[in-house]
Symmetry: C2
């Protein structure tokens, strides 16, 4: 293998695929990235390759057996080849090299690569690519097209509510329902539930606008990487989503993300949402979030914040007590309908929801002090954030 | 106690003195800051205090029995008082409050303070100030005046070489020699030594310009805080330095830093510096530092980087080997006098020195492969950074 590429291309793509490289690999080769040098035209047809005149590409792959990320960029390929190199060491070297062209050349065994920069020369020992497992890429031709923007919005709003507890299986993922006209994302950890609905923008596939084309539950870990990849590039195009038993692939431009799916039936979360509400509070989201952030300082051990809704004064007061250390209270004006109510929440779950909602004002819909509460934005994306109250000690 | 001050003043000064509050206090009251509300004119002489018309000041103190920081700011004092409050809790609350005026009012026992902001009300339980130890402030009237800039430069250049090993006693500090015309800072951990000499700018006190007025060894921990405090405010004025048996006080504007000194005789470091050198290498500092940072990636376990000085080609090559994982080499052009030499260093000690030197070009003076090496800047501050080489394996 021999190729010339820019330091920036190699570094950016390496750090991207490294996100799928496990920190504690179950097999040594999984600590490596696979590097493939591919010529797009028969080598030898041109007498000499000019700088900047890329005739091929480099494809990098990281894979932890569940999550796989693949990314390609153009390069001058002088000799094709395929090998694997330790992800962290390679990343550490390449990210520190100055910008400019790098030459990568392997020995005959394809297990030692020499990297040459302007003033430096580095040798990195790898492993044969034969040991590296193949990415489970699906090519069924039946891909669903999803706008990147819709995917970003849906993931931002739902990932926050996933369970962090690995024993909770299906709750560690986001449930994604692809309908012909929209995408629905849902996640819950048993304490709060987030549902986001975004338009697909292209209801080409069905005459029935609410037909469910398919549904799948995808691990939050993979979706967090997908969200980062899409957000950092301000991706505006469509992604292709391929689905097969136990596996999904997101595929766009020169990048692919593949992940196993979570098995089992996702809980019927729509049943949790009350049909009607006795009380409604509308107020500024950032003001509420700011007040909660200070009051939360006093809620250090219990995480408990009390809401006192005062309909006569159209005011909402938040309070918390740190035993023997102090107490805090903030009062906010709000538009309130319904009777007065005292109700308590785990402040973390509330703040998570408020950070995820993007509108300037939000509405809080409530019934009694122990019944589910719904936060939703006023305008913007259609989102439902349900949080269970906590019983107040007498 | 009752006072009104701005959130910004209270927050800034709290976070400053909190640096002297121990994370694991030996006595509960040391986890607190002392707060004194002082009226500068007899209270009651004015019928009413107008906003912005400060008639007094607030003095905050943090003290871990070795390092003490005191800072004052102006405020409207309606009732004088003195008490202590938990530093972390108070800091967490005040830093999150919106900007604007805050009212602090204590109960009769001076152990509960109510903080009122625009929309919030917080109560924090404290402890009586009687239990809080007095700062050992010296008022001997014989203070030395030190320009802040000279102190910042001296600390920046020397602190890096202090020992981190608490059992090494006097080596955990910076040795400061105040001469009538200059300040000399020295620090060593046994592997490297840094000496910085800066002009005092005002040799008022002696007709003998090199007379040593006094010498003292100050714990690095306290000096790191001093350097941060001075650097962040881009302090340009003079500090007063008070010295007494076992204690120093740095005193400027509305702030004071006090610390115990380190006992014992500081090693006679001048003896370590070779009188003459057989080889000299002059090169660009940032280029050398950049090259070392990449090569260091390959020196992961041993920290060993080899320098090969090639006089014929006027080039310096740096190399490192990571056993079975790879190797790296960078070549730099340099002005070299003297014969060729292979010599090895702990890359961390070299990089520390190179980051501390501030000139564009530096000179490396060397003798044999096991003799001390001196790095010094070309122009700017007078600094000597000595590093011991490491024996190369055959």
């Amino acid at each position: 293998m021999k190729l010339v590429c820019t330091q920036q291309d190699l570094s950016n793509n390496l750090s991207l695929v490294s996100r799928a490289v496990p920190s504690r690999p179950t097999h040594p080769v999984l600590a490596n990235v696979k590097l493939e040098a591919i010529a797009h035209e028969p080598l030898g047809e041109r007498s000499e390759i000019e700088p900047g005149d890329d005739n091929g590409s480099v494809r990098l792959t990281g894979f932890d057996l569940s999550l796989g990320i693949q990314s390609s960029f153009s390069a001058q390929v002088e000799a094709e080849g395929i090998l694997t190199l330790p992800a962290k060491l390679l990343n550490d070297i390449v990210s520190k090299l100055p910008s400019g062209d790098l030459t990568l050349e392997s020995n005959d065994n394809e297990d030692l690569v020499t990297i040459t920069s302007g003033s430096g020369r580095y040798q990195v020992r790898g492993m044969s690519a034969e040991e590296f497992p193949e990415l489970p890429l699906i090519d069924d031709g039946e891909a669903k097209q999803l706008p990147a923007k819709a995917l970003i919005d849906g993931l931002k709003g739902s990932l926050v509510a996933c369970s962090q507890d690995e024993t909770k299986q299906i709750l560690t993922g986001v449930y994604l329902k692809v309908k012909s006209d929209c995408l629905e994302f849902a996640a819950t950890d048993g304490h709060r539930l987030s549902i986001v609905e975004v338009e697909r923008g292209d209801n080409e596939e069905s005459t029935d606008p609410i037909a469910v084309l398919f549904e799948v539950t995808v691990p939050a870990k993979a979706l967090r990487e997908l969200e980062k990849m899409l957000s950092s590039r301000q991706e505006r195009d469509c992604l292709a989503l391929h689905l097969e038993q136990g596996q999904v692939v997101f595929d766009w431009k020169n990048q692919k993300l593949t992940t196993r799916t979570l098995e089992g039936k996702y809980p019927d979360y729509r049943l949790l949402i009350p049909r009607q509400f006795q009380r409604q509070v509308t107020l500024d989201r950032k003001q509420l979030l700011g007040a909660l952030e200070i009051v939360a300082v006093l809620a250090d051990q219990s995480n408990l914040v009390k809401f006192s809704i005062d309909s006569e004064h159209q005011s909402l007061s938040l309070s918390a007590e740190a035993q023997e250390r102090g107490s805090g209270e903030e009062s906010l004006t709000a538009q309130i309908s319904g009777e007065n109510l005292d109700i308590a929440f785990n402040v973390k779950y509330l703040m998570d929801g408020l950070k995820t909602l993007t509108s300037q004002e939000i509405t809080i819909n409530l019934n009694g002090p122990l019944e589910p509460v719904i936060l939703s934005p006023l305008g913007g994306i259609k989102m439902t954030y349900l949080v269970m109250p906590v019983q107040l000690r007498k």
